[in-house]
Amino acid sequence: MVERLRRAPAQYWMLVTMWIRSALAYPASFVLMLIGTMLMTVMDFVAIVLMFSHIDAFGGFSLAEMALLYATASTTLGLADLVTGSIERVGQRIRSGALDVYLIRPVPAFIQTAADQFALRRIGRPLQAGVVLVLALGHLDVDWTVAKGIVLVLSLIVGSIIFASIFVLGAAFQFLAIDSAEVASAFTYGGQTLTQYPLSIFGKDIVRAVTFVVPLAFVNYYPVLFVLGRPAPLGLPSWIGLLSPGVAVVMVTLASLAWRGGLRRYRSTGS
């Protein structure tokens, strides 16, 4: 087990560089796709800016505060999408039986599926979100403390891990229902859209659901509330954002169990 974990990064990197080389074979197309991805993902923020041409505050959040929410949601989803997003392609492999190939190679099937058709252009999303993050931090009026700084940086890592777990859970679900790749999108891309707005506007039931069922609120909302020094909804303690790493551990455990369960359930096409 330890040995497998130690080897994993090198194996993943080897597969990833292969796909990067293949993408760069059409350089013009690659550059266009990278620009396209950056523009596409910045659109959500443009929408928020356009909204602010009519309003001064959205659910009690100023434009700079909204920018912080947007940047953290988009960075975390973007990093998770870059590293594990390709795993949703597993459904096609299950249907065609091509997953067999992954099972006989001396690299874990999980790593091969996660690196399948690795798309470097997806780095466009975290890149543009990083720019928005810098802009947001420049305009925010926050009494910075060391604790707040650590929570913000940590939330970017932890949030990415939570989103990555959801990608893996969605892929594991495809062992049960082939062609259901879009269901996961509701929680990953949908989750990003949701978390770039102050969650309290969606009502108490949604806040409960994304706290206790699908813990999207821990991706960025609670950490950002902590940084901004605002009270948490539902009468939850203000330090609830500090629980994010624990939530990430639970999600990773669930995702890894689900993936193993799915893989064990896999029956090839039989041809």
Binding site: F30, E182, F202
Partner: protein
Amino acid sequence: MGVYWAIGVRSFRRFSTYRIATASGAFTNTVFGFILCGIYLTLWHERPGLGGYDVADALTFVWLQQGLLMPIGIFGATTTIELGERVRSGEIAVDLYRPTHLLLWWASVDLGRAMFQLIVRGSAPLLVGALVFDLTFPSGVLTWLAVATGLVLAVLVSFGFRYLVALSGFWITDSRGMEHVALVLSSFFSGMILPLVVFPGWIGEFARATPWAATLQVPIDIWLGRNPGGTGSALLFQLGWILVLLLVAQLATTVATRKVVIQGG
């Protein structure tokens, strides 16, 4: 003519076989519908009557938009992406060899796809939305007719543009980059990111004049009865763009066929 009808029918049937994919897509549209409703409710609460929409209009916009994304092909559609791949791989030679017209062949394939998705993916989110929220529905046979016409025209505008993007592969070998750029333009200017009525000033006027407006914002406004110049001029606006796009598409087809060099034996 019969052959194109047959192609359309078969394309319709082909898409009707992807049952789980269709269901999970409709599920995702519905989840997004609820998220957007939360956002728009807040926005219209802060600014009632924004863009000439009342709250019911804004919520109806959300559910129509979620239902129409796939049928109209705002993110691109399987059919035209396939066409792009055929250009890249050289399989397009087979299409050109057929005694049919390339543009009409793919238009039929795309319309067959759109009709299936319109019926299933268009209605499912709308149904859920109508059960939860108070939505606006067209009154009168004439409005329903106008809505149906507007939707078909919207698919054609979108097809004309997607066909051109796919054919760009004849010149730059790989149309996937262009597909990405097209995706950005189409999602921004169609009203998918934010209803075009909310766009302020010159950027709003510009967006509402683009062909992408004719794919989503205009048909939804026909449904809501909110077209600034009335329903008639909205349909004419769509027709105008179809004319322009299909003429250019036909021109591109002719030029591309003349220069095509298929690799291999």
